[in-house]
């Protein structure tokens, strides 16, 4: 009944609705701007009438009593029935707008306010897909990788709205009738359609579709494969997804086009993902390696990046850190093209480094991955944070409390919070009990072995606390405070203390004859160069960020030429002025 329901389950229109309510102009008209017919901007009017409780409802020329949500179904049907010419504005808009966002502007026509919803297509996946294909075609003709990336982002936005009928009609429209990909893809969907009972609008077979072009772009074909594959994965049809992905990867290997790279990279990702979901990731390792080799030979940098990550993921799934590191260090690193892939790479690298005890590097990688990851990737960020917490603990740092209080992560990070607490206090007993109680969580996160390593950090922290508190303490007391329980506790304590001194954990000396540990006085840090170097590294970071930002700016092509023209014009104008001046001067002369 609510307006948001009317719009295909999307609640995105709500803010605009409120805007309208305040106007109370009686009759509000939605115009669907462009995107449907090239004849006129205004195609379908839906009258919106304020209902009794002050809300606004649709009444698509039907009486107020009728189910309001039907209004939209009618629109949708009429849209899918009419011939679709795609407004170039719409393509342009998709190029720059956030996926799923709706740009609505209002204007007054007489006493009625008219809303131009330029992104109405968002709610109608059929049109949306069509527009995306147009965007692909534009991307191919202009050789713009960026557009392909946008296509994928927009696809993800409508991913949940796809169903078998929408996809079938999309395939029939965009692939030539009787072509191989079409005959191959449709059966996958029809299986699904039989099971899917609540399809609202099955596509009529004899729909008046524009005849599809005979020569389709490989990009569009691969896009069709990709959509079907994503759909199958969403429907949890993992076996079907597996077979289809193998076919799709084979198909994509036949082409060597740089415009295909973005789509191909996505395809590889879903290829690996479907095998992962089916639980047989190790089967595709050799084909991934082969794909990576091909991508390298073809200078498909995005493909290389994606496939390297997939391979790392593949190895790490089986704890093959050695192989992963060997592959990583031997492959040529290309400049990052995609932020997502960079995040993943950093995360995997961080994990490898952690296992190999290079904690400082690992920390950098993991923190960077967590920061670079988009805020919607919550699971990924949780994983990064878990590992980062452990690495920081292993480094002897104590992560701030805010790390554990991040939105939506408190629960997942709870065991790690307790662990941090134990390390912070330096209490071996508490540490042991936390490690035992949460063992299942840690082994599920594959961090169990790291927790075991943490034990000596707990001791180290405890020791540091002791060394700060006491200027001199007997080794027997140290052993008691650290809860060292063995026959030779004092000797153990002595060797532990000496090692801590050697590693720079504490600043002290041991007096063996008297059996005590004497802390050295801490010097004034401001008398050293420490503050200066810290200051310098911060300044360098800021400057670097600024430079990176400048480099990342995009400039429209030919923007600088305009200025040149104006310079030319200015010269012309100056010339004219000079001539005029000369003229006047001559005229002046003539007067004499």
């Amino acid at each position: 009944m609510t307006s948001s329901k009317a719009l295909g389950g999307s609640s995105r229109f709500d803010p605009d609705m409120r805007l309208l309510d305040t106007k109370r102009s009686g009759r509000v008209v939605w115009t669907i701007n462009g995107s449907i017919s090239s004849e006129s901007n205004v195609v379908i009017f839906v009258e919106r009438v304020p209902t009794k409780d002050g809300r606004v409802g649709f009444s698509d020329n039907c009486s107020e009593d009728e189910e309001n949500s039907k209004g939209l179904v009618k629109i949708e049907e009429s849209i899918s029935g009419c011939s679709m010419a795609i407004n170039p504005d719409e393509i342009e808009r998709l190029e720059y707008d956030e996926p799923g966002s709706v740009g609505a502007t209002t204007s007054m026509v007489g006493s009625t306010s008219v809303i131009h919803v330029s992104a109405f297509a968002v709610c109608v996946p059929r049109i949306y897909l069509k527009t995306l294909v147009a965007l692909i075609e534009k991307g191919v003709s202009t050789k713009e990788m960026r557009l392909m990336v946008r296509v994928m982002r927009h696809t993800m936005a409508i991913r949940r709205q796809l169903n078998a009928s929408i996809l079938t009609s999309f395939l029939q429209q965009s692939l030539p009738a009787g072509s191989e990909p079409l005959s191959r893809l449709v059966p996958y969907l029809s299986q699904e359609e039989e099971k899917d009972m609540d399809i609202d609008a099955p596509s009529p077979p004899g729909q008046s579709q524009p005849p599809a072009k005979q020569n389709i772009l490989p990009e569009v074909e691969i896009y069709a494969y990709l959509l079907t594959l994503i759909f199958l994965i969403d429907q949890k049809q993992y076996e079907a997804a597996k077979t289809l992905s193998v076919l799709a990867v084979k198909r994509v290997q036949n082409f060597n086009r740089r415009t295909l790279d973005v789509l191909a990279a996505r395809l590889y990702f879903y290829f690996s993902y479907s095998f992962e979901l089916a639980g047989c990731l190790s089967e595709i390792r050799s084909s991934l390696l082969a794909l990576h080799r091909t991508a390298t030979l073809r200078h498909d940098e995005l493909g290389q990046e994606t496939l390297l990550n997939l391979l790392l993921r593949n190895y790490l799934a089986y704890n093959l850190y050695d192989q992963a590191e060997k592959l990583r260090s031997k492959t040529q690193r290309v400049e990052a093209h995609s932020n997502q892939q960079l995040c993943r790479y950093l995360y995997y690298l961080g994990r490898i480094r952690t296992i190999q005890l290079e904690y400082t590097d690992a920390k950098e990688c993991l923190l960077q991955a967590a920061r670079k990851a988009p805020s919607t990737a919550r699971g990924f960020r949780i994983q990064c944070n878990k590992w980062a917490v452990i690495v920081r603990l292993l480094l002897g740092e104590i992560p701030e409390r805010t790390t554990f209080m991040q939105q939506g992560m408190q629960k997942a990070l709870r065991p790690y919070f307790e662990l941090t607490n134990a390390v912070r206090i330096g209490d071996l007993e508490l540490f042991r009990s936390v490690a035992e109680n949460k063992a299942s969580t840690f082994s599920a996160d594959k961090t169990q072995n790291l927790i075991v390593r943490l034990r000596h950090n707990v001791i180290r922290t405890g020791l540091r606390n002791i060394s700060i508190s006491y200027s001199r303490i007997s080794l027997a007391d140290v052993a008691a405070k650290l809860h060292l329980q063995s026959a030779t506790a004092v000797a153990d304590a002595e060797s532990i203390v000496t090692k801590a001194i050697r590693d720079g954990g504490i600043d002290a000396t041991v007096d063996h004859a008297n059996g005590w540990m004497q802390s050295k006085e801490t010097g004034d840090i401001y008398s050293t160069q420490e503050p200066q170097t810290a200051f310098h590294s911060r300044i360098a970071f800021c400057l670097n960020t600024y430079n990176e930002a400048v480099k990342a700016l995009r400039f429209p092509p030919d923007a600088h030429k305009k200025e040149l023209e104006s310079a030319e014009k200015r010269r012309e104008r100056q010339q004219q002025e000079q001539e005029l001046a000369k003229h006047i001067a001559e005229e002046d002369d003539d007067e004499f």
């Binding site: 704890n319 190999q356 390593r453 000797a491 532990i496 000396t509």
Partner: protein, 267 residues
């Protein structure tokens, strides 16, 4: 193929007999012959051909390599150990579905962990550890190695040394002896940082020497900057100047000029 298999098995029996009698010379000769024979079996890694005798071939090869590892320990050849271990590893990981788990697997893996520890290859130690399933950690051989590493990292060297008495397998003794040497170096390194001086008697005890002479030799060989006089060992520490009195002018100039150019670029 059957004939070849029988042939290799016969040779392996001979090897085992020599192995039992600790005839290392004959063993290594036979082993090289066996290795040549193994190259003729197509079911072994990396080919993994599905021959009718694949299981027997794999089992035989695994057995041979496991014996080869133990042999290399007896011959105190660490390089050979590493080679053989790498050869047997695929049998533990890649042929899981084909042949039953070897009984010696965990003790071999534990031995390898110990070797990595002795060679101070801690990163590889942890990489190997990650590959083990959780139930493996309960096995005495693996547990032994893991606990050793822990004590080693903590600095509880006494525990490391006392672990020698509790070795889970007789082959471990060789590496434990090597580990004792590593531990001594570690202790020496720690001591020179932590103590100003030690009496010779104490130093002897800490560094596990039985005579003064050994200590003297060790000090002159490994740590020439130690000084032994008046019955005490003085560790000559490099007194690093804690506070910097001098202004690092060149560095400062460089930094400031750097800021200037960067700012210039922005404005």
């Amino acid at each position: 193929m059957e004939a070849k298999l029988a042939d290799a098995t016969r040779l392996f029996q001979k090897f085992k007999a020599a192995f039992q009698q600790n005839d290392l010379e004959t063993c290594s000769n036979l082993l090289s012959q066996l290795k040549v024979k193994l190259t003729e079996f197509p079911a072994l890694p990396p080919l993994y051909k599905q021959t009718p005798t694949a299981i027997q071939e794999l089992l035989l090869a695994m057995d041979i390599f496991e014996h080869a590892i133990v042999l290399s320990v007896k011959m105190e050849d660490q390089d050979a150990f590493e080679r053989h271990f790498l050869q047997v590893k695929p049998f533990y990981t890649d042929t899981r579905g084909l042949i039953p788990q070897s009984q010696e697997e965990y003790s071999i893996l534990g031995l390898n962990l110990l070797r990595l520890l002795v060679q101070n290859r801690i990163a590889e130690f942890h990489t190997e550890l990650e590959l083990l399933p959780s139930e493996a950690h309960e096995h005495p051989c693996i547990k032994h190695a893991v606990e050793l590493e822990q004590s080693f990292m903590e600095g509880a060297y006494n525990r490391v040394l006392s672990a020698r008495q509790a070795v889970p397998h007789e082959t471990y003794v060789y590496f434990m002896d090597l580990l004792a040497k590593t531990v001594r170096d570690e202790i020496a390194g720690c001591s020179e940082k932590a103590y100003d001086f030690l009496t010779v008697a104490d130093a002897k005890k800490i560094l596990m020497f039985s005579t003064d002479r050994e200590l003297q030799e060790y000090a002159t060989e490994e740590h020439p900057d130690w000084e032994i006089r008046n019955g005490c060992v003085y560790f000559q520490k490099v007194k690093d100047s804690a506070t910097c009195k001098e202004i690092p002018s060149l560095q400062l100039i460089n930094q400031t000029l750097g800021y200037a150019t960067e700012l210039e670029r922005i404005v």
